[in-house]
């Protein structure tokens, strides 16, 4: 159950991106007001802005953290056609005064682009310290810091011409693959072909080669995200277009997805009722997808045991109410329902996949005040897992 809290950020224009760091204890925001802010959470769970500085002379589109192994390193990209690498330097003033000053030092400016740099992403850690940027003129550039102790030097390792106006990119986090990048385009013209291209780094040829172009995606793509791959045998790619499309790439069947014979590999469309989805984010295990749309709502999506994606929660932007759409079985996110496993799971699956049941369920429980779970369960002769007891919470969330 989510508790919403509004945090006042001193940004003077729209905030475009928010990024958690590796450990989830820090957060960075970037805004059109040219600045980036870094926030830290204290032991009480409150967020404090610990740094705010002017990073660019244009809207800052994205901000991203490097793996902490490389230091507290941030990268930002902007409308001013630059990407910049920042490192946090903590210095102490006057000895014994114990005044700690956190300075964000600009380590490098990547000025190769001639147009707005629309996205910047650090590579997965096993590829070293690499950075990919994409720009509105269709160039994807891969930079590498050859010396990890010196972040001022970044060599441009490769440059890919995508021939489409790029808006977002995502590294494939799976270590089973060669380095792979998916690039999305926000070109509004639907006839201009597929809006997502996937590039693979061929080690032998030492270059990036387009391995796939998703022709089924014709609407403008605003965000793209590979799901974290924790031991999965396949890759999952979420694409934020008008709706969210989830695609699955099986290692065994690397050919086109749309034409795949296996139904598992057909793209899944998550309906956002006409709202434009702008940004998406996976949870750590890659099982829940948060999609933020311009109706001011975040929807959380999760696949059930049949690989049917369901909206499990809607988080309202005003923070005033959070409603549970479906009865969510208590089973933790990662342990999904499996058809190969005992029947109990099927029961839970039935509950989550049957809207009729769940609406009846929640309305009844609301009517009765307290949740009459056990009774309910018997009536329906459905074994009620203890899980369902949290149904009634979540209708009203106090806003701090």
């Amino acid at each position: 159950m989510y508790v919403a809290r509004s945090i006042s950020a001193d940004h003077k224009d729209l905030i475009h991106d928010v990024a958690f760091d590796f450990y989830g204890r820090r957060m960075a925001t970037c805004s059109s007001d040219h600045s980036v802010q870094v926030w830290d959470i204290n032991d009480k769970g409150e967020w404090h802005c610990t740094a705010s500085w002017k990073t660019h002379s244009g809207s800052v589109w994205r901000v991203t953290w490097a793996h902490p192994e490389f230091g507290q390193v941030l990268a930002s990209c902007s409308y001013d056609r630059m990407a910049a690498i920042w490192e946090e330097v903590v210095s102490y003033m006057v000895p014994n005064n114990h005044l700690m000053i956190i300075l964000q030092t600009k380590r490098a400016t990547l000025v190769d682009s001639r147009t707005s740099v629309t996205d910047v992403k650090f590579s997965p850690r096993f590829l070293g310290l690499k950075l990919a940027t994409c720009s509105a003129d269709g160039n994807v550039r891969i930079y590498e810091a050859p010396d990890l102790t010196d972040l001022t030097t970044w060599e441009i390792q490769d440059q890919i011409m995508t021939k489409m106006s790029c808006s977002c990119l995502s590294w494939n986090p799976s270590r089973l693959n060669p380095a792979t990048i998916a690039v999305g385009s926000d070109d509004a013209n639907p006839s201009a072909g597929g809006k997502v291209q996937i590039y693979e780094h061929k080690v032998n040829e030492r270059k990036w080669v387009r391995s796939n172009m998703l022709m089924s995606i014709t609407e403008a793509v605003h965000d793209i995200a590979y799901a974290p791959n924790l031991g999965r045998s396949y890759d999952v790619l979420a694409i934020a277009t008008k709706d969210v499309v989830i695609m699955r790439f099986d290692k065994k069947d690397p050919s086109m997805i749309g034409s795949a014979t296996s139904t598992r590999n057909t793209p899944v469309q998550l309906d956002h009722q006409g709202a434009q989805v702008w940004q998406i984010s996976w949870n750590i295990t890659g099982t829940i997808l948060a999609a933020s749309s311009d109706d001011g709502v975040v929807r959380l999506w999760k696949a059930n045991y049949l690989d049917k994606w369901k909206c499990i929660q809607v988080l309202k932007g005003d923070g005033s109410s959070v409603s549970t759409m479906l009865v969510q079985p208590k089973d933790p996110p990662a342990t999904n329902k499996g058809s190969s496993l005992p029947e109990t799971s099927v029961d839970a699956g039935f509950m989550s996949s049957s809207p009729k049941f769940s609406s009846f369920f929640s309305s009844t429980s609301a009517w009765l005040g307290s949740s009459p779970l056990s009774r309910q369960g018997r009536h329906n002769s459905v074994p009620v897992t203890p899980a369902t007891s949290h149904v009634t919470s979540g209708f009203h969330i106090p806003l701090k």
Partner: protein, 789 residues
Amino acid sequence: MTTSVHLDSGINAIATNREKTQVAAAGRLVFKIFHIEEGSFREYLDLRVGRINLNYSCNDVVWNSVRDDILATGATNGAVVTWNLGISKGNKMDKVFTDNTRTVNKVCFHPSEWNILLSGSSGGVIRYFDLRNNVCASTFSGTKNSSGSIRDIQFSPHQMFIFASATDDGYVQFWDYRRNDRVLLQELVHQNIVFSLDWHPEERNWLATSGRDKTIKIWHQESHELKLHLDYTLYHIQSVRKVKWRPERKYHIASCSQVDDNAVSVWDIRRPYVPFAVFEEHKEAPTGITWYDQNIFLTSGKDGVIYQHVFKDAKKPAETSNPVGVSMSLNGDIFHIAVQSGRNSGVRGLSTSDGPSAKRPMPMFFRRHDRTAESFVTYESRLIFHELRENRFSEWFCETAKQYQLVGKPFGELCEENAKVAEELGRHQVAQTWHLLRLFFVDVSQVVPKVYSKQSSAGSTDVTSPRTQAEPDKDPDSNSIHRDTAMNQHSLQDVGHAPDSATGVTDEESDSDIDRTKWRNKNLQMDGIEDPFTLDDDDNYDENFDLLDLNLANSDNWNLPAEAFPHRHEIENIGRQSSPDPTHDRSRPSSPPTKPVDDDQENSHNHQLLASQAIDQAITKHRSEFNLSIKYRPLIKDMLSYYADKGDVQMSVSAYVVLGDKIKGEIPSETIEHWFISYIELLSRFKLWPIANHVIKCSDHPNIQMLNQQSTTIYANCNNCDKPLEKKSWACNRCGKLTNTCSVCHLPVKGLYSWCQGCSHGGHMGHLKEWFSRSTQCPTGCGHECELR
């Protein structure tokens, strides 16, 4: 439609005539006049004819606002030239003023007096030419404070005699053209060069300036004050060469950059960071902007192109930038950015609430205007933190990681322990899986009581275990795989058979097989106890209450005693028939337990937790024919992959480690490596490094085992004499002192010794923490600014 015309050379300035039917484009090597016709430009005149000299090299061009036939240009050599289009043929050059010795940056006609021409040059002098008598009527030179070259001049559209000039050293000056002896007003407006200024066409006394400091500033002058007030600051990508107000839009202004940015931007001055519209047609830096009407304007560029831009073709950065954002942390917390809803009805300053102007009280003059202004949507984001309060991934993940037991116990017990861990965290499916795993490899009949007992009730297992023993004997092939399980179970079996009726008592003692012998002795002693069942019943009673909490689904038919009781009798019978002697039992060739199969089936059907029909059937059908472990190895492989695919790599890895040799070779080695690395990375994200290390140790994959073998050496120096320490030394070879004394309390440190690698001093963690909360230097006084903070 955006249209364009290409010229041979870069254009420095453009000017339209009063009717806006013609446009003059002037550059160093070009000077032409075009007719603006519907959707196109038509070349009308080339003024670069005759003997070309430097007078033709134009820096600026201006059309007389009263007489359509007069133009003026400022040349790079300092000449100010007027052109008369009325000259019938040949060279239209009319007069040349050579008063300036340095480049003329700007020429400017009076909006209503045709004869008044001003020029500003790099020499820092403004010259006023009267075209009636063709003389330089007066000069306006900067005061001592301001001596830089003049970049821009413009007559006020509202005050007859006033013009403003912009200088290289950051000043804007107001002059009365009738009086050249003094500056009306002088204000420092930019840190550096002021490239351009523009009076607002409608708003009295609004002035926009732009400079090299990458800003556009909007000022106003109080009617009776000789001072400019800053209202808005717009932040440009690059230094701003030119600004021009958009007609009929009070808050809109167009700008272009001096260098390095080829876009022409139109800003809403209330949104200081994001241009309202952008026109990116130019290939090189734009130089001149002239509005045709509110939706069409002309620009010229160094690329030699004049564009007629139409607003409909504009790119609007605000529309393509994402207004909302979301990020999910590893805990499942979500940060959400949403657009702050609500309209700001033109109250200036809200959108720029922290701008320099907002703090100042609003002048009366402005309030009047703003009240009638069009409403303006503020651009602000809300930052919302959705904290996940329940069912947090991190919680159960960390708990599970900490509590799972991967090695050090017999397989069955590990499964039970882990099942219990999962059960307590409410992860029923995982718990179930652990039970099943045990079931596959141990014996179904053993699990039955196990499932119900929250305390490890090995006693009942013992009773049922003969069948475990019986099975491998039937299938010699699987014997090897199964042997260690069987061996592990032996300890339990031993006891199980010894006491006929003392099962209840043995329950309590059977938690580990370490003190097996002791236990056996004890059992022998307890052989005579008559009322063990009371104890047993009590236990069951309690446990069932626990079960009620844990799993409501099973609450209806938990009649365990009834179920367990006949079961035990059955087994006891078998036990008796064969032999009560443990040693015998171990080597005993088993008799096929045909009869108990039925009982077993019955039992497992009664049993709610064994809900899977498939498994029931499999057990009943095949238990006498196949070894379960062989039969279910592919199934287990699938199960592990299933968990990994579902994002629970923890389960995959844990189960894999626990299963050990039982599924060795079944799963590809790279998959195993992938799982392990994923799990280890996950653990390290939650900062569970000791557990990660444990997992590494448990792994059988060479690549994984390597992970904690890297950079394990710690180099340390003696904290007294700085000699590098030899391995395993706690005293320094040279000075003979202890190396592990605490710098604060001077006692040797036992356990965790933390030290600064810079100066080799350290000590108790607590002491050091306390010390460094007050000081930044080393407690020994060595003067080192220790890293340990």
